[in-house]
Symmetry: C2
Subunit: 241 residues, 2 copies
Amino acid sequence: MTVAISRRDRLREETVREIKAVARRQLVEEGPGAIALRGIAREMGMTAPGLYRYYSSLEELIASLTVDLYDDLVAGMESARDVVPLDDVMGRLLAVSRAFRTWSVGHPPEFGLIFGQPITALSMPPEGPAAKAAARFGGIFREIFGQLWSSGLLRVPAEDELDPLMRRQLAAYAKRIGGPLPPEAYYVFAACWVRVYGVVAMEVFGKLRWVFEESAALFETELRQLARFLGVSESYRPPTS
Amino acid sequence: MTVAISRRDRLREETVREIKAVARRQLVEEGPGAIALRGIAREMGMTAPGLYRYYSSLEELIASLTVDLYDDLVAGMESARDVVPLDDVMGRLLAVSRAFRTWSVGHPPEFGLIFGQPITALSMPPEGPAAKAAARFGGIFREIFGQLWSSGLLRVPAEDELDPLMRRQLAAYAKRIGGPLPPEAYYVFAACWVRVYGVVAMEVFGKLRWVFEESAALFETELRQLARFLGVSESYRPPTS
DNA sequence: TTCGCGATGTGAACGCCGTAAACTAAACAT
DNA sequence: ATGTTTAGTTTACGGCGTTCACATCGCGAA
């Protein structure tokens, strides 16, 4: 069962890695619009058309880069989650949420590429690698919500409290996923994610600077509100560090 | 007191209007990256360098376009607000919030330009027209919050419930603005705006489509939660239309 | 060991782009 | 009528994504 990767394949993989590394450096240092095939090639000591042996277009390169960024973010969230005991479900939710914010405010251009306005021309097929990476990201939160539910900690609204159309879509999603969670739980899930995304996106995009230089405290108050919204306000804990 | 606008100035103004109209059409139909001086000039039957008589760079043209977009949005919010009686302050807040969402979901590229990740190279001086337009937009919400406060409807957290650093920044902002609102009220203001922005941005950017085809109902539940957060949950009213 | 082929990369070219400089022509003020 | 400001063009430079024809090298098979 040796892997038997040929020498050519190793070189190719190394080239791919370098391409994406240079592209990410351009993204970080020169902004999202500065990712350029010619620039990457120049920095690598080759010519632009050569890159077409690795990606069929600039778009595809960027799409592949977003997968790496998702993986980076997911790794950070998982390692933050895994230092919290398995039975402290709310502690795990707080940990991954804080890891999400930490990564995001530490990597604004990367955050913008993943969570900002989608590049119009960037085709993201629902079954493509980018969509899979996004699903892995969402899965981290969803798994914890599942554990919250099975621990009986999750307070969900009654069925008739939700708009009927919304509940139909929630039910369709619950069926598609096939887990034990009721549709109402996915409303709570979506509402939580919307709030976490909102405060982080505004901070990363600088839309809060009219009042806050530093928004970490606002994020924490949002987390506390979130714990109350989930019905487990007593299990909120401030960050350890 | 005649205006005495010269013929040249009228023509110039008309040209400026056409430039921005064509630029906006490109933004809407071809995406944010498609706004191009050469394309605009071609469509107008002139050559690209001629546009430098009106804007010193493409960036400045885009900055000027964002001001128009803000004005468009602000006009929609104000007219929605002004059909609600002056004494129904919460009704006005709901009206402008819904108008914000309606405009945003109806104009995704425009929303992205204003509220998405800032174009890195786009210099927005704090005293420039773009910043003023943004302040006009925020002022709509802030004015209503002021009226909520003077009506005694606004429930704000106690001073010691807030993080000290956050409270310092809030106090600095309150002083800068100089209104009658206490710092804690601006926390409530920021928290509300963050939630409204979050749900609208996610909807516009398509980040909720994994569960919702249509997010209007989620937005309404967020508004209801917001009314509860403000301490006036009984004054929430569903949209009239 | 040699042959052939696929993988990798180059060079030239096409049509875009923003922008600067020199120049022309029209409109305006005096 | 003259001089000046304004609006626009032509030309040019460098950068971009992408295509195509061509070269070269590594590697498996005869």
